[in-house]
């Protein structure tokens, strides 16, 4: 018996090659589209702001300060969403991590509620490690709840959002702690290399690493495989539960780092804010082209999505328009971005269906048998 087997590759397949490539390029351009919108808005706001104030270096720096914590959370959210999960507890994690960090600083005498205190580098390092460990543990608990109890990630993290915030409020009696050692601000929080705050550079470095991991490593491929078809991943021998726990621990670790950054910039806790941060992070992630259904993720898109929110907020402030409009604009862009993505996907699939052999049940035309 000859092993002559040909899978349909007729003239339509060749034609599709070109159309497919063009459409694949379009599909990948979600991130690029948002980047163009960012650039357009920067130009627009610069042109119309009094004295082109929006385009000033000083304003650029304040954009960075505004978006660096948001970016850290959004990066964690991206890899979690890539595996078809969601982490609503990132803000609570940030708060709880920063509270534990402050407790460590207090215990080691690195705080002074009334006066000014500096130094205590050892206490700062222990506080950093505490923040990271808290974030990691928070993520680990989320992972256990999701994989071992079988609670969906939405519900599990909604629960830990409430629990984490509650613990932070109990520990602090609901009042913020002030007067942390200014060394952590001078040497980290507001330290700059050129126009770039150090925490922002750190966030961008992490973004670069995550981008490489998602695209060029087995870990990244497996993450997207789990998001795309968890059963297929399981059957391919991937430890899906373990992988999911690790992803949630990474996003937790980034939330812990965000907690330390928050402390370093403001030298105080913010126990009643940050609760909406995960939703803002999710907005940035989805605007950037990461599919909420998993399997497709763009770190670059997440960066541009974070900047979009910051640019809108900052631009409206510079123009003297109430910043409440930023929320309206961001919401509208979110819906538009998802609608556009949906449009692209359905159009692409329609092209495949039009090839005739896309619908599995459809009998293909006889002329695409390739004789060998």
């Amino acid at each position: 018996m000859a092993a002559a087997v040909a899978v349909p590759e007729d003239d339509r397949a060749v034609r599709r090659g070109r159309v497919g490539t063009a459409l694949a390029g379009l599909a990948k351009s979600s991130a690029f589209t948002i980047f163009l919108i960012d650039v357009g808005l920067i130009i627009l706001f610069t042109a119309v702001s009094p004295g082109n104030r929006f385009g000033s270096l000083q304003n650029f720096e304040s954009l960075m300060y505004y978006s660096m914590v948001a970016l850290l959370l959004a990066l964690g959210m991206t890899i979690v969403v890539a595996a078809e999960m969601i982490d609503l507890s990132l803000g609570a994690n940030l708060i709880l991590s920063s509270v534990f960090g402050v407790i460590v600083l207090e215990q080691m005498g690195a705080t002074s509620p009334d006066g000014v205190v500096s130094g205590h580098v050892d206490a700062i390092i222990v506080a950093l490690l505490t923040c990271l460990a808290t974030g990691l543990a928070f993520g680990f608990i989320n992972g256990l709840l999701i994989t071992k109890l079988g609670v969906t990630s939405l519900i599990a993290t909604l629960g830990t959002l409430s629990i984490g915030t509650g613990i932070a409020l109990v520990l602090t009696n609901g009042t913020d702690r002030y007067g942390l050692t200014s060394t952590m601000q001078d040497e980290f929080g507001i330290k700059q290399l050129g126009p770039f705050p150090v925490p922002m550079l750190l966030a961008l470095a992490i973004a670069l690493i995550l981008s490489v991991v998602l695209r060029y490593t087995a870990f990244g491929t497996r993450t997207l495989a789990i998001g795309s078809n968890p059963i297929a991943a399981q059957r391919a021998g991937i430890r899906v539960d373990r992988h999911r726990i690790i992803l949630l621990m990474i996003s937790g670790l980034l939330a812990g780092l965000a907690g330390f950054v928050d402390l370093s910039v403001y030298l105080q806790t913010a126990v009643t804010s940050h609760v909406l941060d995960p939703l803002n992070a999710l907005t940035a992630v989805v605007i950037g082209g990461t599919a909420l259904t998993g399997g497709r993720a763009s770190i670059a898109g997440t960066i541009w999505g974070c900047f979009l929110a910051a640019i809108l907020l900052n631009g409206l402030i510079v123009l003297g328009i109430t910043s409440f409009y930023q929320q309206i604009a961001t919401g509208a862009i979110l819906i538009a971005a998802v609608a556009l993505d949906h449009f692209r996907t359905t159009r692409r699939l329609r092209v495949i269906r039009d090839r005739g052999d896309g619908g599995a049940q459809k009998a293909p035309s006889p002329n695409n048998q390739k004789e060998q």
Binding site: A3, V5, A218, L224, A225, A233, A360, A363
Partner: protein, 260 residues
Amino acid sequence: MTATPSVPEVPPAIAGSHLSKQFGSVQALVDASVSVQPGEVVALVGDNGAGKSTFLNCLIGVHQPDSGEITVKGQPVQFSSVRDAQRLGVDCVYQDLALAPDLSVVDNMYLGHEVHQRGLRGRLGLLARREMIERADDQLRSLSITLPSLRVPVRELSGGQRQAVAVARAVMWASSAVFMDEPTAALGARQSEIVCELMRAVAARGLGVLVVSHDLPRILKVADRVSILWRGRTVREADARDVSVPDIVAAMVGYHEDVA
């Protein structure tokens, strides 16, 4: 059709003998046996509820049989998971294909078997994607499968092309036997023919092929032997040339058992 390669010295690629499996009060398998020689295509047929899926799942490590013995290349084995079976060169093409639609053809073929670069880059976890593409391309070529590109997401392939990718992946990692669960169920007539030819191509590489199918006329043409399950028992094993579709249907609905 090719003759049955029943050389006695060669141990079967995979064999299950006298397997039974009970789920609660349901005796899904009573006494099921099958043996697939290297290079042979064996069709496993039976009515709905006859225990085909349970039998297959026992042979691939999804379920553990309550009694009976499984051998791979003559060696008795016990699979506690699909991974155990894969390690011994037994792979499966699932009915739903188990592909990740968002991943490219090459990433799907290497899922769980990724190849890393050499040296430091590899230790950092970087994939040798160029090498992976070359090897996947060789694999597809050797089965005479042509695809527009190995970098396109599987989502953008046709039903027949997806089936071909799933088969090529299983063959790539299998060294003993490949199972196929209803490989033609979702395909049109001509694509079904292509998949059947693919089965012969896989067997021609010396792998044992066990196919579960409802498509009796088609599968009878491609298989060397037929094994018929009825209410959890193997009631008949026959050379595919010696049986007709009505014979098989009679055995599938238990006609022979009733007169016996």
